[in-house]
């Protein structure tokens, strides 16, 4: 689906159990997001595609997740709002770099797709998945979670407000139960 098709699809009600990425795209656009950086995850693929097609948004593919934290801080210094997309395994890579937005009190908005917590077939995903929330809290990031598409849309809408209107560093964890089992 192209950006134009997403925009024109607004008249038909969306099933948030499956269409939450479309709703998130609209929400983040309405929140004024102008820069998006990411290390890809299957759960973020629709958002990445929509933002990559959006000429009003700058997207950066990253070699490691902490790069996105620095880019987002620089974007805010220059007056633009951004979001960083990653999988839970990438949160560990971000910890020291998060001192940058925490110390400068720069709005930070991270969307994290979870692994290692629900119907996980790859045991190597479990350690960081289980440590994600504690690690983020330890460095000073406020953590919120969503377990359904409907819940996620509501959480993201208010979390974006807290990040950009109340200067908070926020990560929204998208539960693996919501994302479904990875197919091989």
């Amino acid at each position: 689906m192209t950006v134009a098709e997403v925009m024109s699809a607004g008249t038909t009600p969306r099933d948030l159990a499956t269409d939450w990425p479309l709703e998130l795209y609209d929400l983040l656009k309405a929140a004024g997001i102008r820069q998006v950086s990411y290390v890809p995850d299957a759960g973020h693929s629709t958002l990445i595609r929509l933002f990559s097609e959006d000429r009003d948004v700058t997207t950066n593919v990253l070699t490691t997740e902490e790069e996105g934290i620095a880019i987002a801080t620089g974007a805010w210094l220059g007056g633009e709002r951004s979001v960083v997309l990653m999988q839970s395994s990438g949160v560990g890579n971000c910890i020291n770099m998060l001192s940058l937005p925490v110390q400068t009190r720069t709005p930070m908005f991270m969307l994290v797709t979870m692994r290692g917590e629900w119907a996980e077939f790859n045991p190597w995903q479990v350690p960081m998945g289980q440590a994600t929330e504690a690690a983020l809290r330890a460095i000073g990031v406020t953590v919120m979670r969503a377990e359904t598409g409907e819940d996620l849309v509501e959480v993201v809408a208010q979390a974006a407000g807290m990040a950009f209107e109340a200067d908070q560093q926020i990560a929204v964890l998208i539960g693996q139960r919501l994302l479904g089992k990875k197919k091989w």
Binding site: N60, E67, I71, G74, A75, G78, T104, D167
Partner: protein, 195 residues
């Protein structure tokens, strides 16, 4: 064979004297002190930590302020920690981002342990390999004078210049430690609200 190395503060002074409205982001440690020693400015954003974040903070800033030149001034150790960032920046291809690496080939803040750049890694060649529009390694202040003119020319993409400097710890010139103050001062310079 001894190769020429320049005085870091003299080099930074030359670059900043010709900044012409450029926004400046500095990497932690001596590059922050060098830029502060040249004169504290509202349009300077100093890092005191977040090692590996300077060039990428510059990227986000350059993408938000496309009509303004952004100059990142950092050290070899700081840029080595963000080796992959050179790939990210090359792919993003901003035309208003210049990275200056003050390369003393050592981790100067922690006891002058030799870094990778003193053991054969050339960051200018790495930048060229990733696709930076321009890059070079400079060894004299005369070459920095020429670089000032080169930086005034419009860029086709990101540029990276390595300045080979003497390995010495000069008296510290400490920027404000209050990161919120520095951020808000920087944003106010751009006409943005504090927060």
């Amino acid at each position: 064979m001894t190769q020429h190395q320049m005085d870091r503060r003299a080099a930074v002074n030359k670059l900043l004297a010709a900044r012409d409205g450029a926004l400046v982001v500095t990497g932690l440690g001596s590059p922050s002190y060098d830029v502060h020693a040249a004169g504290d400015e509202d349009s300077n954003f100093y890092l005191w930590g977040a090692m590996g974040g300077a060039a990428l903070t510059g990227l986000g800033l350059a993408q938000a302020q496309r009509d303004t030149r952004v100059m990142v001034i950092t050290g070899d150790g700081e840029q080595l920690m963000a080796f992959g960032a050179l790939a990210t920046i090359a792919v993003a291809a901003p035309k208003n981002l210049d990275i200056i690496v003050l390369d003393n080939q050592h981790f100067g803040e922690t006891g002058m342990q030799p870094s990778h750049t003193g053991r054969g890694i050339c960051l200018a060649r790495v930048a060229a390999a990733t696709g930076f529009a321009d890059s070079a390694e400079l060894r004299s202040l005369e070459e920095v004078d020429a670089l000032v003119d080169r930086l005034r020319m419009p860029a086709a993409g990101p540029r990276l210049f390595v300045l080979k400097i003497k390995a010495e710890n000069l008296p510290r010139s400490l920027p404000p430690r209050d990161a919120v103050f520095v951020k808000n001062r920087f944003r106010a310079h751009l006409g943005l609200a504090p927060c």
